[in-house]
């Protein structure tokens, strides 16, 4: 929203250079499967992307001023929908993948319409309880979800065009990687448009000053529900991809901790931006967590991860996330500008 009345000319190097750096970086990431075939690296990256989508969803909900502690429940919904449709009912992959997100979105819509009447902490707690309920149902509803044994899903079918096989998910992980990239890209584009359009502003309004926004004709419920639903849809798709990537879904995959982690990634990454923040936060913190997971000293991982997050928070400037450090880096260190304003809500 900050670029109203700021001329963006082609000569505006302060805008072009950072963007091109980011672009270069993205291209490099896209080429990773070409450089390396390492299963470990590629699969970690894929999971990073999947979680990043979930974090983006959380950020969108956060943008309307609501703190959801149940986001991983929507991943579970999407994942289970896809798994049940493909394995239990024997539907083909693509339609069931498509449906999975819609189902999770629909449920988000229904829950949102009821629950979002209750704002703030109450909403957080209710979503937490909701997440637990989803987990327990997945555990107890044995005939459908196969309880704690979970459902083994299969890889997506190879994409065949004019007789010869283009993509095969069984032979390498690269297809999953690009599948993930597509999902992230679609989510990013949608969220970017939301951020740019009137929706974005309205979300800001509902978050920053609900009473005032309401007196200026904004129906708070409507916009909170919209944000919650859209987040639900994409989180659901992330869950479905996750399920088909690990080729198994059990009730232990998406729980309270996962929701908490999504929260941490997104907020540390910076809720000021709908796309950069969550992706950056997830990319850094998730992989830190994975790397720490290599230790087999019990407790060390949790301890270090927690400490790192706490330390990061203590050194972040007021109300800024990691993504804002990127801007600060260019303005303060590279261009040496005097004053800089973050353009995000400070509570």
């Amino acid at each position: 929203m900050k670029h109203y009345f700021k001329k963006i000319s082609l000569l505006d190097y302060k805008n072009i250079v950072p963007k091109s750096v980011i672009g270069l970086f993205i291209i490099l990431i896209l080429l990773i499967p070409v450089f390396t075939q390492s299963v470990v690296i590629v699969s970690t990256l894929t999971l990073t992307g999947i979680w990043a989508v979930a974090a983006m969803g959380f950020t969108l909900v956060m943008r309307t001023g609501q703190w959801s502690l149940g986001q991983s429940a929507f991943m579970a919904l999407g994942g289970y929908t896809s798994a049940i449709l493909t394995v239990q009912m024997g539907l083909p992959f693509w339609p069931s993948f498509f449906i999975s997100g819609l189902v999770s979105g629909l449920i988000a819509l229904l829950i949102g319409m009821v629950v979002l009447r209750v704002g703030g902490v109450y909403f957080a707690i209710i979503t937490l309880a909701m997440g637990e309920i989803v987990r327990i149902i997945a555990l107890e509803w044995e005939p459908v979800t196969r309880g704690s044994r979970g459902i083994i899903t299969s890889a997506p079918p190879p994409i065949v065009l004019w007789g010869h096989e283009l993509v095969n998910f069984d032979t390498s992980l690269a297809p999953y990687f690009y599948f993930m990239i597509c999902l992230v890209a679609v989510t990013a584009v949608v969220f970017w448009r939301i951020g740019e359009s009137r929706l974005g502003r309205t979300f800001y309004g509902t978050a920053l000053n609900p009473i005032m926004a309401e007196h200026q004709g904004i129906y708070l419920m409507k916009y909170r529900v919209i944000a919650f639903t859209v987040a639900g849809i994409f989180t659901g798709y992330a869950g479905a991809l996750y399920t088909h990537f690990l080729q198994v879904i059990t009730p232990f995959v998406f729980g309270f901790w996962q929701s908490i982690q999504i929260t941490i990634w997104s907020i540390i990454g910076g809720i000021g931006s709908l796309i950069g923040g969550p992706i950056l936060g997830t990319a850094l913190l998730y992989n830190v967590g994975v790397y720490l997971g290599r230790t087999d000293i019990p407790g060390l991982q949790a301890f270090l991860f927690g400490s790192i997050v706490v330390i990061v928070i203590m050194f972040l400037p007021q109300g800024a996330g990691l993504v804002d450090l990127w801007k600060l880096f260019w303005t303060k260190i590279v261009w040496r500008e005097k004053e800089y304003k973050t353009d995000e809500p400070e509570d």
Partner: protein, 409 residues
């Protein structure tokens, strides 16, 4: 002068020693080590089991490698690599991928936790042989399909062990009218139905209760057991639940209800400290202490190994070690693997090794058994060991009874 001579002699002796050592080492044919992955939860609530097991596996393996085994003339030994599965699919997947694709491990042994599905989904396509326990398969539809999992060996029959435990209890206390079976809801599945069928077939009356994982207040369930007229509440692992039920049934005054648990006691002291000494008396638990086994014949060499391993661990950790229920997992798996390799005459062709395992007979820590090729539950490859029960007396666990291995139909 004397000094000097002394010095010289010392130096000479030293040189000789070194020389001889050199010759000796040269003479000793060195051993090629085969890496095997042990994927178990080391962190989180399930951590204690993994942590308690790991040192025993390693100590035992040390003894095993003393002689190793020969495959067409070459001497081999095994090397453990421990991975933390965190008992979650994502953690297990990461661990398995590291094991298989980074550390190039070709065998997974001693696996027992809830991540079977995940590990299997990665190991089978990579043609990595996995030795695990049955009871938590997530085979789609619950029906085993050898084509789906050609490299999985259910080398520890958790279900059968459970049934045998109950039989052992009944053998020890014939007058028990009804056995109460308690388990966390995460334990639900086909395996449980099989167990119940088997028990019904053996003419044992049971009453089941499910509780949510991590429950702290068991009084409702204990009351329900009491109302169902159970003489004993037998839990399927989860030490916390065992200890709390042990204590709470005592506090509620239901002293006549006994408590038992599969999975073995981590250490009697723990149960006493949590449940109280009086309450803990008579706690029955599955026991892997093969020195106690009476009805099943076990290779004395292995019994010695067992004793040595326990001693070694106690020495390393510097505190007495009680956990005995490890014999059926890591060591047994290693022995099966080694003997199969010898029989197959190869250490790296998974298909040949599997061929040797199917229906083969193996002499292991828990006795001499033949892999059933028959269609037992879940897998055609189920390996047997006896249900040995011990009970807490004072601060020791002592032999109670046992029931030899019977496969569950």
């Amino acid at each position: 002068m004397k000094k000097l001579r002394g010095l010289v002699t010392i130096i000479l002796v030293a040189f000789m020693a070194i020389g001889m050592f050199g010759i000796a080492s040269a003479a000793a044919e060195e051993m090629t080590f085969i890496n095997v992955a042990v994927i178990s939860p080391l962190s989180g609530p399930a951590g204690p089991w993994g942590q308690t097991g790991a040192p025993l596996y390693d100590a035992w393996l040390e003894l095993f490698n003393k002689e190793g085994f020969r495959v067409n003339g070459k001497l081999y030994g095994f090397k453990h690599i421990n991975y933390d599965s965190m008992n979650t699919p994502e953690g297990a997947a990461a661990a398995t991928k590291r094991a298989i694709f980074e550390d190039k491990v070709k065998f997974i042994v001693g696996h027992w936790d809830a991540t079977f599905t995940t590990v299997q989904a990665i190991s089978t396509p990579a043609k990595v042989i996995m030795l695990t326990r049955n009871g938590n398969e997530a085979v789609a539809g619950g029906v085993y399909d050898a084509k789906k999992m050609p490299y999985v060996v259910f080398a520890t029959p958790a279900n059968e062990m459970f049934v045998n435990d109950i039989k052992a209890i009944v053998a020890a206390y014939p007058k028990y009218k009804r056995i109460g079976l308690a388990d966390a809801t995460v334990g639900k599945g086909v395996g449980v139905d099989q167990i119940d069928k088997a028990l019904a077939k053996a003419g044992i009356r049971t009453h089941r209760e499910w509780y949510p994982q991590g429950t702290k207040d068991y009084s409702p369930y204990i009351t329900r057991f009491n109302e169902a007229g159970c003489d004993i509440i037998y839990l399927a692992s989860d030490p916390m639940a065992t200890m709390l039920i042990l204590k709470q049934r005592w506090d509620m005054g239901f002293k006549h209800i006994k408590v038992g648990a599969t999975g073995g006691m981590l250490s009697p002291g723990m149960y006493i400290s949590v449940s109280g000494k009086d309450a803990a008396q008579g706690l029955m638990a599955e026991d892997g202490d093969i020195t106690l086994i009476k009805k099943t014949k076990i290779n004395p060499k292995y019994i010695k190994m067992y004793k040595d391993a326990m001693a070694l661990v106690s020495k390393n950790t510097g505190k007495p070690y009680y956990y005995t229920d490890w014999t059926a997992y890591g060591p047994t798996h290693i022995q099966i693997l080694a003997q199969a390799m010898v029989k197959a005459g190869t250490v790296d062709d998974p298909d040949k090794i599997m061929k040797a395992i199917r229906g083969g007979t193996f002499d292991t820590m828990v006795g001499k058994y033949t892999m059933s090729g028959a269609k037992t539950y879940g897998s055609p490859i189920v390996f047997g060991n006896p249900g040995l029960m011990s009970k807490m007396q004072g601060e020791e666990q002592v032999y109670l009874s046992e029931s030899p291995w019977v496969p569950v139909p």
